[in-house]
Symmetry: C3
Subunit: 104 residues, 3 copies
């Protein structure tokens, strides 16, 4: 399975995108939490509150997840795919029941 670490501007966006992913069967579970973000853009450093959205899903859904996120926001965010080296079998069973396994 895959984990996606996604940054968004606020909790409303995280909730809206997270729930849309669940409704579209693109994820089985999402987590979000507030962070502070600092970044460089054209020589200036900006610091502002943001939210991390963690998405848990099957392999093979990266393009659809990125497309859905981009439909909800108008800025360049961060979408990193993390591939765990193991996951507990109980979670895998739940994931398989809720999100169709797919060859990539």
């Amino acid at each position: 399975m895959k984990i996606y670490y996604v940054t968004l501007n606020n909790t409303d966006e995280a909730r809206q995108i997270g729930r849309a992913l669940l409704e579209c069967k693109l994820a089985v579970c999402v987590n979000w939490f507030p962070i502070t973000c600092a970044y460089s853009w054209q020589g200036e450093i900006t610091e502002e509150p943001e939210v991390v959205l963690i998405i848990k899903t099957q392999d093979g859904y990266a393009l659809e997840i990125e497309k859905l996120i981009q439909e909800h926001i108008t800025y360049t965010n961060f979408i990193a795919e993390i591939s765990p080296t193991a996951v507990n079998q109980g979670f895998v069973n739940w994931l398989n029941a809720e999100v169709s396994p797919r060859s990539q």
Copy 2:
């Protein structure tokens, strides 16, 4: 070394499981923080507060860690093993002093 990303229902569980892992020499350090979780279960979306527990340990402890977690909870949670591609030597020395290295 390995990192485990574990979701639990609340801070009391994270503290209890985290301290039990340290007492049993199954981890050198644990971190926890509150999140919001949304998930699909039999066609319904549920949203509720949860807690992430990050476990830092040697290779080869996955089964014992999962067993200890399951002894503390009665629901199916998420236990993902993340394998860092590098870790600072100071931390590795501390880890080796507190948790026995083990071949898998």
Copy 3:
């Protein structure tokens, strides 16, 4: 690209180190958030507030990042390098514009 998961004692350290990494062009973006940490040290378990700093940068900057962190703190912390298996192209373009790509 690489993600670093770094633990620090407090938000002031995370902000100071995060901004120094951006100013030195060693990262394009950093995130930080508060956690609770419990750890073993010489048979005793200690629990205290800490802060996680997430650093997003190019490959090949690990040594300089670790050196900069160590110049700001006097204790042994945790610096884990995570290698995502994919990242959205928009972020990669931004990263390439702000931090020089480098062969390792």
